[in-house]
Amino acid sequence: MSKSSVKGVTIQGVTCAVPRKQLDNQSFLDRFDEKTIADVAKLTGVLSRHVAEPGQTAGDLCFAAAEKLLADLQWAPESVDALIFVSQTPDQRMPATACILHGRLGLSPQCQAFDVGLGCSGYVYGTWLVAALMAAGLKRVLLLAGDTSTQMLDPDDRGTAMLFGDAGSATAFEYDEHAPQTYFDLGTDGTGAQLLTVPAGGYRLCGPVSPRDNTLHMDGSAVFGFTISTVPVLIKNVLEQASLTISDINIFALHQANRFILQHIVKKLKIPADALPINIEQFGNTSSASIPLLFCTNAADQMKSAPTTLLMAGFGVGLSWGAAVFKDVRLQCASVIEV
């Protein structure tokens, strides 16, 4: 795994935006019987999720989140040095959604903007890129991470149809020379690339494709095996790198893959349950937005009120994973809006 650390990175504020439309588990009764729905909910923990309207994009959700965040922090748009958009459901095939968002937000021509195509691990990778940009001299960076995964689901696939939700996020990072070191551990196993995939939409499958090729395919048990073999080691390694132990961490912000996985990790690493917040029951698996969504919900009070030692970890599609440890995080704002 690639280990690194960067000094001076601070998280100033986070805003998330979710679609107004909400679906509870009863909405799936036209496709699945009650027992199937109950069994899936027992494993995943998902009771409800926000679902984008057709044409409502991850870019739209991130735009709403970023607009509010800039206003809450009183950041002038021209003060932003870079915008990174992390998603697997971009607005268009071209241009990069980051460029579209740059225009919508009225950012400066001196601001760089680019997309990163990662999902479950995407927020941590985005955070690492922010840190690398700051090490290179940038001062203010917006990380926008979001997905509208519900738009690519096969409604008859019980393994995925009820698991995902849609959300967008905006996180404001600022360089502060006095801020402590941030530690990262990132990795990839491309031999598992086909375990979580949407086959169509790129240039591998040309011409007309079957509707199934446009939907998400997941080998649930293989992805689960990957998670329980990789994530506990990842967490131990990044803690060791930061010279911390489990009890030093106030918040373990883990990608909300499914509740069963999270509870398994809690047991395996003996993490106090209240240090590892779970909000999947309300939002489903929101892919790249799940970690910032924790900052704006269950972890918001802690992160706004006191300096927080934070461990974040994302893992999944790719297969790709990453973890980061931030010390002394104190958010000026953290909220969720519906759009």
Partner: protein, 72 residues
Amino acid sequence: MQEFYSGLAEILEVEPETITPDFKLDEEQWDSMAIISCVALIDEVYGQLVSGSALVECKIVADIQNLVSKSA
């Protein structure tokens, strides 16, 4: 073994005393969710990782136990 049997009974939604090495894993109960749960159970009880695809092939409880002792 007791811990594994009672965990397995919970996964298969049967009474714990019915689980024996000869217990048959019928297709209806031994579905993808049961298999994921069993991967986690084996990790918890034995600290071993078995693959879901190997578990799919198991027909009776003894087959699972063989997998566990093989990967030990």
